[in-house]
Symmetry: C2
Subunit: 243 residues, 2 copies
Amino acid sequence: MSSRPALLALSPSVDFALTRLSGLAALGPDDEAALHEAAQAFSVIPARREILKEGDPIRQARILLDGWAYRSRILPDGRRQILHILLPGDLVGMCHQSTPVALTTMTALTDVVMCPAPDPCTMGKGEGLAEAYAASRMLEEKHLLHQITRLGRMSASERIVDWVLETGERLAAAGVAPADDFALPLIQEMIGDMLGLTSVHVNRMVQAMLRDGLLRVRGGRATVLDRKRCEQLVDYTRRRFAR
Amino acid sequence: MSSRPALLALSPSVDFALTRLSGLAALGPDDEAALHEAAQAFSVIPARREILKEGDPIRQARILLDGWAYRSRILPDGRRQILHILLPGDLVGMCHQSTPVALTTMTALTDVVMCPAPDPCTMGKGEGLAEAYAASRMLEEKHLLHQITRLGRMSASERIVDWVLETGERLAAAGVAPADDFALPLIQEMIGDMLGLTSVHVNRMVQAMLRDGLLRVRGGRATVLDRKRCEQLVDYTRRRFAR
DNA sequence: CGCGTTCTTGACTGCTTTCAAAGATGGTGG
DNA sequence: CCACCATCTTTGAAAGCAGTCAAGAACGCG
């Protein structure tokens, strides 16, 4: 969490959300003001707590101001799939249905700070925000599609490298951390549940890639050691252009 | 394709779209009229032709009136992932960005009939359509999330059964075919590319399931032979409630 | 009838899982 | 400051699911 000295107790920092959203669309002063105002109605969810349960009604769209969360589904025999990771600046529950319902359970991975997403319709202007929201939804769909490609057509080590690069880029886009070195609040079992692998195999692959000098995933931290080789392993540049 | 005798040449049938959308929200007479009008601006895309290419600007949202299409991504070494199947009544390119861009290539699987999606904003009323569009987007997201779960945490045979059940249900919801027996315009290689398997393995699994009396996937047709056992194999009922 | 596509089959390889146990790590309370 | 506990990581051996390669059979179409 970043600091804003005097006001911390009154409203949390909006920096990550602002950085991410203004990377998606040009925001005006009203957009920024609306965000600051919305942040005053923030709430904090402790790590490991469920934020939404599958089937819950969605009261309002929210912005994740700080922390990590994940959406997951659990099969009846206990197998778990982590579907999507939510990072600072991400939007939650954006949909225009009259009685929307959560499609999946969402859980806090770290302590999480959220606030209501300012509604561009009720604001006078706010076109910048509306545009950013739309772009954010597209980006989320893009991540889901990437996740499908990863699981369907990539090997274990490709999946890991690909996901680390993607996540680093997302964190950098929100100003949370550099793309090549960031805190990673996921244990290996969760990485496995996300990438369709067992924790044992994640462990072996991670070690192999460390030996190869590709990347280090250890001690709650991910570090890209050789970006060039990582990128060419998963053809990452091609995808950046496709942004 | 279904028939509407005298008018076929002027505008195609809207039946599938109407059936699907009114299952998602209550449509009024204006909604229905708007759909009929939009259908006059229909276009036909022959099988195998690309409908959209990754990166193409999206001119307008469209409705798939008839036929099958798919969204896919191809890795540089030739591996292909089929991300999502589009069926009659599905919406394409719904997004509120000012300059939206196609995230993935989309290809016609059969001959396809499309028309512009009537815009609820420009109509006087059209709240029913707007609601149906929102529900449709949620449903599409649900399918992408399911696809992730399938690929990440299901065995080969589970993936096949699960996908056949889901597709049958979607076709039934649009009034295209009964959920247990429908034309399947996918060769086994495509089923493999969709479910993260090789065509050889799809073939073996399909044969094994036919021997077991679970389902038949052959000759361009899928038939659920024992729905009860299929459903319990993939815990399908649980998911229907979660709708 | 001939050709190209799709399906089928077999043998072999190998990536990933499974099971089990030992080794680190970090936080807590004495 | 250290013992202790729970959690997380690491390791090994064995098994299994799915992939690969290659060739033959079936199918559909012109």
